[in-house]
C-alpha cells in the first residue's frame, strides 16, 4: 500500500522557525564578535571561540535553510 510522503516539518511553520533560528544564531554571532573584540591575545581561549562559532553556525545554517524554504526556494 502506498503511503503519502510529506515534508519533515509542516510547511506552515517554516517562517516561524526561520525567524527564531536566525534570531538565536545572530545572538550567538554577536556574542562571538564581542568576545573577539574585547578579549586580548592572552585571555582569549580557542575552545570558547570555536564552540561559539559552532553553535552560531548551526543555528544560522538551519535558519537560512528555513528562510529559503519559506521564501519559496525549495532546495
Amino acid at each position: 500500500m502506498a503511503t503519502a510522503i510529506s515534508s519533515p516539518v509542516a510547511v506552515e511553520w517554516y517562517p516561524v522557525q526561520a525567524f527564531f533560528l536566525i534570531a538565536v544564531g545572530l545572538a550567538v554571532t554577536a556574542y562571538f564578535f564581542i568576545y573577539e573584540a574585547t578579549s586580548t591575545r592572552k585571555s582569549r581561549k580557542l575552545s570558547t571561540e570555536l564552540s561559539a562559532a559552532l553553535v552560531a553556525s548551526v543555528f544560522l545554517g538551519f535558519g537560512t535553510l528555513f528562510l529559503l524554504l519559506s521564501s519559496g526556494v525549495y532546495v
Binding site: 500500500m1 502506498a2 503511503t3 503519502a4 510522503i5 510529506s6 515534508s7 519533515p8 516539518v9 510547511v11 562571538f32 564578535f33 573577539e36 586580548t40 591575545r41 592572552k42 585571555s43 582569549r44 580557542l46 571561540e49 570555536l50 561559539a52 562559532a53 559552532l54 552560531a56 553556525s57 548551526v58 544560522l60 545554517g61 538551519f62 537560512t64 535553510l65 529559503l68 524554504l69 519559496g72 526556494v73 525549495y74 532546495v75
Partner: protein, 611 residues
C-alpha cells in the same frame, strides 16, 4: 485533390480484386463510425461487430489506415465492448501493434489488434476502436483576412476501409456548426443540423474506398504547442515545483493582410482567433506565475476550490492563424498529494500531458528532477515514450540532481494519463543542504578566528611593537585581577547572606562552614593576586594604572578584614545569646565602613573597565 482521391479509389478497388485474403474468414457484420470534427483534433470512434465466418480460430483483427492519415495518427485504442444498450461498458484496452502485412495493398498502414479471446467459427465480438488524428484538417482557403471565418477541409472514405467484407455500415460526421460549405453527396447521404450522415451501406467488399470531402466552418481555437517543456522538480522539504515552457502557434488558416486592433475591439472582427487559454491545475496549487521573456504578464485570472485550480491566461495579443507566442507558467504543489512510498521505494504519480484544453503538442518533453542522491530510478508510463537521463544543478547541489526526461511527439489530451517515476532516497540525505550551510557559516567564523590569532606585523623587534605586546599583557593582567576581585565580592555576598539567614534558622554551624570555605578561597586568591601584582608593578606600561590597581586591591583587602570582623562579632554575640538590637548596635559602625568601601571598590572597577 478530387483527382487524387479518384486515383486512390481506383487503386484500392483494383488491388482488392487481385488480393486473395488470408484473413477472409472474418466478416465485419456491423460498423458504426462517428467522426467528431468539433475541434481541431479529429476523433473517430467506431463500434465494430466482428464475426468469424470461416472454420479456423482467429485471434487478431487488422485495422487499415491510409498512409496520409496514419502519419497524423496520434492515438489508437481498441477495447472489447461487453455490454449491450445502455449498460455498455468497455474493458481494458487491447494490445495493438503495427504490422507489415504481406500481399496487402500499398499506401496502407496496418494495425493488429489482439482479440481478448480466440474467435471460434460463428462467434462474434463487439469492439470499440477509438482513434485520434492531429493536423488532419486543412484550412481552405489557406489564408484569410481578419474578418473572415475559417473554413476547413476534411477527407475520408464514406465506406469503412478494411481488409474484411463489411455487411452493414454507417458513418456520422459531427461538425461544429450547421454552416457547411459543401460535402460529397453520395446515395444515402444527408445533413441534419450539425450531423452529416452516410449510409447505411450493405455488403461492401474488402478494401472499398469511397472518398468524401467535407468543407465546413470551424472557428474553434487551433492551439498547437510546437514545443512544450514541462519541468517537475521534487523537493523533499515539501514542494513539487512545475515549470511549463510553451511555444504556441495558431495552427489554422494564416492571417492575410494587416491586423487592425480597432476592428478587433469595436466590431469583434476576428472570429478565427483565440484570446484566452484555460489551464486546469491540480487542487492546492500555489505560487502560480505566468510570464514570458519580457516579464510578468498581468492578464491572467486564478480561482480554485478543493477539487481543482483554474487559471485563465490571456496572451499579450489575440492569436491569429500562423501567429506565435511563447510564455512560461509555473506553480508549486504540496508534496503529499503526488509523492508516495511503497515497498521501500518512493514514487511520484503525475499527469503526463498539458493541463490546457484541446491542445496539440508537436513535441512534448517532460523532465522530472529528482532530489540529489536518488538511486535506482525507473519509469512507468502507460504508452511508449523516448526516455533518457540528465543531470541538473540547482540550489545547494554538489553532485547534481538526476533528471528523467520523457519525450513524445504528437501529444493530445488523451495522453493526460498518470505516469510514475520510482526511485530510492535516504531521508538522511535531506540534511545535506543544511549541513552545507552550516559548514559555510562555520568557515566564515573560522576565518575570523584565524584573522584574530595571526600576527600581521612586519617587524617584530621595533619598540612600538614590543610596547604593544607589553600593553596587551598588562591589559590581560588587569582583567585577571578584576576577575579575582569580582570573585571575592561574590564571596562577600555569600557571607552576608549566611549572616542574615542565621538569626532566622539559628544554624551557627552552617555559618561557620561558609566562613571556613571563604577563608580558604580568599587565601588562594591572595596567592594569585600576589604574582599578578608583582608583574604589574615591574611593567613599565602599567605605571599609569598601577596606583588605581593597588588601591583597588588594598580596599578589597580592607573590606575582607571588616567583613571578617563583622562575621566574628555577630557569631560571637549570637553564641552569647545577645539581643538582636545589641548585635545591630555593635556592627553598625563596621557596616557603615563596609558600605563605603564597597562603593569605592565598585567605582575603581568601573574605572578600570573603561580603560
Amino acid at each position: 485533390m478530387a483527382f487524387r482521391f479518384a486515383c486512390m479509389h481506383f487503386l484500392f478497388f483494383s488491388i482488392a480484386i487481385f488480393w486473395s485474403s488470408a484473413s477472409a474468414d472474418l466478416v465485419l457484420s456491423k460498423v458504426d463510425r462517428r467522426i467528431d470534427l468539433t475541434s481541431h483534433i479529429v476523433r473517430v470512434s467506431s463500434s465494430i461487430k466482428v464475426e468469424n465466418a470461416g472454420s479456423a480460430k482467429v485471434s487478431e483483427l487488422l485495422l487499415a489506415v491510409p498512409d496520409f492519415q496514419a502519419k497524423h495518427l496520434a492515438y489508437l485504442s481498441a477495447s472489447n465492448n461487453e455490454g449491450k444498450g445502455k449498460t455498455k461498458r468497455s474493458s481494458s484496452p487491447l494490445p495493438i501493434e503495427i504490422v507489415q502485412a504481406d500481399g496487402m495493398p500499398p499506401n496502407l498502414t496496418f494495425y493488429s489488434v489482439s482479440l481478448p479471446k480466440e474467435l471460434e467459427k460463428g462467434d462474434n465480438l463487439l469492439l470499440d476502436v477509438f482513434s485520434v488524428f492531429t493536423h488532419l484538417l486543412q484550412p481552405f482557403p489557406e489564408e484569410i483576412t481578419q474578418a473572415d471565418i475559417q473554413l476547413l477541409l476534411f477527407q475520408d472514405s464514406a465506406l469503412y476501409l478494411s481488409p474484411y467484407e463489411v455487411k452493414f455500415q454507417s458513418l456520422t460526421v459531427t461538425v461544429p456548426s450547421p454552416r457547411v460549405e459543401s460535402f460529397t453527396k453520395l446515395p444515402n447521404s444527408k445533413i441534419v443540423d450539425k450531423e452529416i450522415k452516410y449510409g447505411p451501406y450493405e455488403n461492401v467488399p474488402s478494401f472499398s474506398y469511397n472518398p468524401i470531402i467535407i468543407h465546413f466552418e470551424n472557428n474553434q481555437p487551433f492551439v498547437v504547442a510546437q514545443e512544450l517543456v514541462r519541468e517537475i522538480e521534487i523537493s523533499h522539504w515539501g514542494n513539487i515545483q512545475i515549470t511549463e515552457n510553451y511555444n504556441l502557434i495558431h495552427g489554422g488558416a494564416h492571417l492575410k493582410g494587416g491586423f487592425s486592433r480597432f476592428e478587433y475591439q469595436t466590431r469583434g472582427r476576428g472570429v478565427s482567433s483565440f484570446r484566452y487559454l484555460n489551464v486546469r491545475l491540480p487542487p492546492r496549487a500555489h505560487s502560480v506565475y505566468y510570464r514570458d521573456h519580457i516579464g510578468n504578464i498581468s492578464t491572467s485570472h486564478l480561482w480554485g476550490d478543493s477539487r481543482k485550480t483554474e487559471l485563465e491566461i490571456e496572451p499579450r495579443y489575440p492569436m491569429f492563424g500562423g501567429w506565435h507566442t511563447s510564455f512560461t507558467i509555473g506553480y508549486g504543489l504540496p508534496l503529499q498529494d503526488f509523492l508516495f512510498q511503497s515497498e521501500g521505494k518512493r514514487f511520484i504519480n503525475f499527469s503526463f500531458g498539458c493541463p490546457m484544453d484541446e491542445v496539440v503538442i508537436d513535441n512534448l518533453i517532460v523532465k522530472v528532477a529528482l532530489p540529489e542522491g536518488s538511486k535506482d530510478i525507473s519509469v512507468s508510463v502507460p504508452f511508449p515514450t523516448k526516455q533518457w537521463q540528465e543531470v541538473k544543478y540547482s540550489h545547494l547541489d554538489v553532485t547534481g540532481r538526476p533528471v528523467v526526461v520523457l519525450q513524445k511527439n504528437n501529444v493530445i489530451p488523451e495522453y493526460n494519463q498518470y505516469f510514475q517515476v520510482y526511485y530510492k532516497f535516504n531521508s538522511l540525505a535531506l540534511l545535506q543542504e543544511p549541513c552545507m550551510l552550516i559548514v559555510g557559516f562555520f568557515l566564515l567564523f573560522v576565518t575570523c578566528i584565524v584573522y584574530m590569532h595571526t600576527d600581521l606585523s612586519i617587524s617584530r623587534s621595533t619598540p612600538s611593537y614590543l610596547a604593544k605586546l607589553q600593553l596587551e599583557e598588562v591589559q590581560a593582567t588587569v582583567q585577571q585581577i578584576q576577575k579575582i576581585i569580582y570573585q571575592c565580592l561574590s564571596i562577600h555576598d555569600k557571607l552576608d547572606a549566611s549572616l542574615q539567614e542565621m538569626p532566622r534558622t539559628g544554624d551557627v554551624q552552617t555559618c561557620k562552614a561558609v566562613r571556613k570555605a571563604a577563608d580558604a578561597s580568599f587565601k588562594e586568591h591572595v596567592k594569585e593576586l600576589t604574582t599578578l601584582l608583582g608583574f604589574l608593578q615591574s611593567s613599565p606600561q602599567a605605571t599609569s594604572i598601577w596606583p588605581k590597581v593597588a588601591e583597588l586591591v588594598s580596599k578589597e583587602k580592607e573590606m575582607q578584614e571588616k567583613l571578617m570582623l563583622k562575621h566574628t562579632t555577630i557569631v560571637d554575640s549570637y553564641e552569647k545569646k545577645s539581643s538582636g538590637r545589641d548585635i545591630e548596635n555593635r556592627v553598625a559602625g563596621i557596616q557603615q565602613k563596609l558600605t563605603s568601601l564597597r562603593q569605592d571598590v565598585d567605582d575603581l572597577l568601573d574605572f578600570l573597565d573603561n580603560i
